[in-house]
Amino acid sequence: MNQNQLLKVQARAPFEIYYQGDAYSVTATNKVGTFDILPGHADYFSIIDPNSEVIIGTEKEDINISASNGIVCVRDDEVLLFLNI
């Protein structure tokens, strides 16, 4: 897969880093419903639904994170997930 087609993802809680690195997708749920973030996604801020699951698709495996709450920020293919805050 071309490097340009990957997202740079950081998923962290105040005392824990769940994932930091490249990924090809991030799936989460907000009030509207489940959404996917793929490379080239528009700049985006959203509140993640309480007690939902965030899935980070990496080349090796899918990483599932249970989030009691959180915020997702997308900007220039960089995804920041502030979870369990």
């Binding site: 950081q10 809680a13 907000n30 009030k31 985006y44 801020f45 509140i47 920041l80 502030f82």
Partner: protein
Amino acid sequence: MRRPNDIKKDTEEIETVEDLTSVFESLASTQVAKIKNKVLMSQEFFNLLWSKYTALRVDDDKRITGGGHQDNGRNVYVIISAEAGLSGDIDQRLIETVLRDYDPKTTDIVVLGSHGAQQLMQRGVGYIRYFRVPMTDSYVNVGPVIETIRPYRHVKVYYEEYISLGAQDIKTIDLIQQIQTMTKDAPDSAEVISTQETIFEPSLDEIADIMEEAMLTLAFAQAILESGLAQDASRFNAMAVAKKRAMELVSQYTLEYHRSKRAENDRRMREVMISLKRKERVRTDA
């Protein structure tokens, strides 16, 4: 002089105390190392969140210090003490500091940690709410505490500050000012995020509110963490002193035991000698 068997029994008991203090000392030192890492990680998280928050173009008046919450006109002191004892005199110093400033006519007290609550009760000082201090090696959920202090005009937090393993101090902060101080330490964001080029779900204001809430929670959680760090360091010191005292007692008792044993042997020897002399005298007389 005490009997050797009694001294031996006491020595064994003191050795058990010495072993226990060693365990507590190690536990406290491990805990200090663990919490120090968490404090650093939490600060990094805060900085990252802050950089995104400052990039959001929200009205400055509505930002953290603006509040906009209800105000009951009173002040509240939040005391963060230890949940358990064996942490030296640090909680006592904390309560003494609070009581120097405390005016029941204008101020309410919220206490975290049963040790602090106990100390207040012993001094006949009432508090409106008590919370258990959560285990500091897991995430500190301060939501219920934040809910309790929300209606107050001024929130002053009293907690124990970790300076080094050998030194801890009592610190007082205004929660809002603390966030401002933390934000000064955080790198300022150069990026601008506005509704023109960014999609906000549900809305920019709601997201900014959640971020503010998160930063307030984090600031408070950090005070709890730092307090835990100071308590563990104080516990480490108290245990080190207790261990040293136990070791001194063990060597003192060992010396006493040998003296007592020797005195007992000497007494027995004297009795044997007296008895032999008596027999010899009887034989000579006969």
